[in-house]
């Protein structure tokens, strides 16, 4: 490896550290939950390599345990991960030329990778970007394996640990609602989910998400897009 490449890899690893500080412990909680749910230990690394989207992986533990129909799993995956569609607008994939490296970079475009590049938009090279993304995946898979090991060695059930997923979504909701302009979406979401809870309590998540998206389409048709802010 040439010195400049080594410097780029070091810069990528450096850029991954802050996000890794959050991903590794949540990965441990994820691994513990896999063991507590009574699933085989390999489900943790298998989810983190195939799906590789933390919040969805945590949701899937519960859905796998209760043998949720595959159609519900597909729709939940589509809606929960739909936000990734918009990352392509700013993610610096153009710096990666190698075909296989491009495929990996798209596959590993998680929230944290997007957030790090969005916060520092300039100076990305292929080696730096790939080093960032591979470091992030190492923290996540490593955290899951650590959690699985802890859960197998200390077979005590820690009741209440599953609350970590709820807490994660609470903080992500807070981060998504920084202005008053999010209020209509929140009200529509509350109405959609309450409606689903009343009408189809067994499939409230699935129906609630579908009704919410439908209500946003209706809002767009009736009210139109928000006024462009020129300020």
């Amino acid at each position: 490896m040439t010195p400049s490449r080594r410097a780029e890899v070091a810069a990528g690893v450096q850029a991954s550290l802050a996000a890794g500080l959050g991903m590794y412990p949540i990965g441990i909680a994820f691994g513990l939950l896999v063991v507590q749910a009574g699933l085989p230990w390999w489900v943790a690394p298998a989810l983190s390599v195939s799906v590789y989207a933390g919040s969805l992986e945590l949701l899937l533990i519960g859905m796998i345990t209760t043998a949720t129909p595959l159609a519900t799993i597909a729709l939940t995956t589509l809606l929960v991960n739909f936000r990734h569609v918009f990352y392509a607008f700013t993610f610096p994939l153009r710096v990666v030329r190698n075909r296989f490296a491009r495929i990996y970079s798209m596959y590993a475009l998680i929230d944290e990778a997007f957030a790090v590049t969005a916060a520092n938009p300039h100076g990305w090279t292929a080696w730096r970007l790939l080093a960032l993304q591979m470091s992030l995946q190492t923290y996540w898979v490593g955290g899951g394996l650590t959690g699985v090991a802890i859960g197998s060695l200390l077979p005590i059930r820690l009741e209440g640990l599953e609350f970590a997923l709820c807490a994660l979504f609470v903080t992500l909701t807070l981060d998504a609602c920084r202005t008053k302009s999010e209020l209509p979406s929140l009200l529509l979401a509350a109405a959609s989910f309450s409606f689903a809870r009343l009408v189809v309590p067994g499939e409230a998540l699935f129906v609630g998400l579908v009704v919410f998206v439908a209500s946003l389409v209706a809002r767009y048709v009736l009210v139109g897009p928000p006024e462009p802010t020129d300020a």
Partner: protein, 108 residues
């Protein structure tokens, strides 16, 4: 314990949909970038979907007993307070919120 074939199907579905959502936009970037509908949905969807997931996971983890409801209410309040006061450090807010819930459920 779910069958291995079922788990394998979940892994395959999760991979295919997630990878498509991440990769396809790079191929069709230009038309998407100019669609008012898509950019508006991009702005409107995240907050509501995350809120639905928060409430849904809350009702999944909370039992019917008064103790667990009180534990959940205080844990959510602590999560929100720590998140806003700690400068949105997710590790801190998720960690303390979960700790409060675990302690409250196990001591209650």
């Amino acid at each position: 314990m779910p069958e291995t074939s079922y788990i394998a199907s979940v892994l395959a579905i999760g991979f295919a949909i997630t990878f498509a959502l991440r990769a396809v936009p790079f191929a069709v970037l230009e038309p998407l970038r100019h669609s008012r509908f898509v950019t508006t949905m991009a702005a409107w969807m995240p907050a509501g979907i995350l809120a639905i997931l928060a409430v849904s996971t809350l009702s999944d983890s909370v039992g019917t007993s008064v103790t667990s409801r009180l534990a959940a209410a205080s844990a959510v309040a602590v999560t929100v307070a720590v998140h806003l006061l700690s400068g949105r450090r997710t590790l801190w807010s998720v960690g303390t919120g979960t700790l409060v819930y675990i302690v409250a459920v196990n001591l209650g």
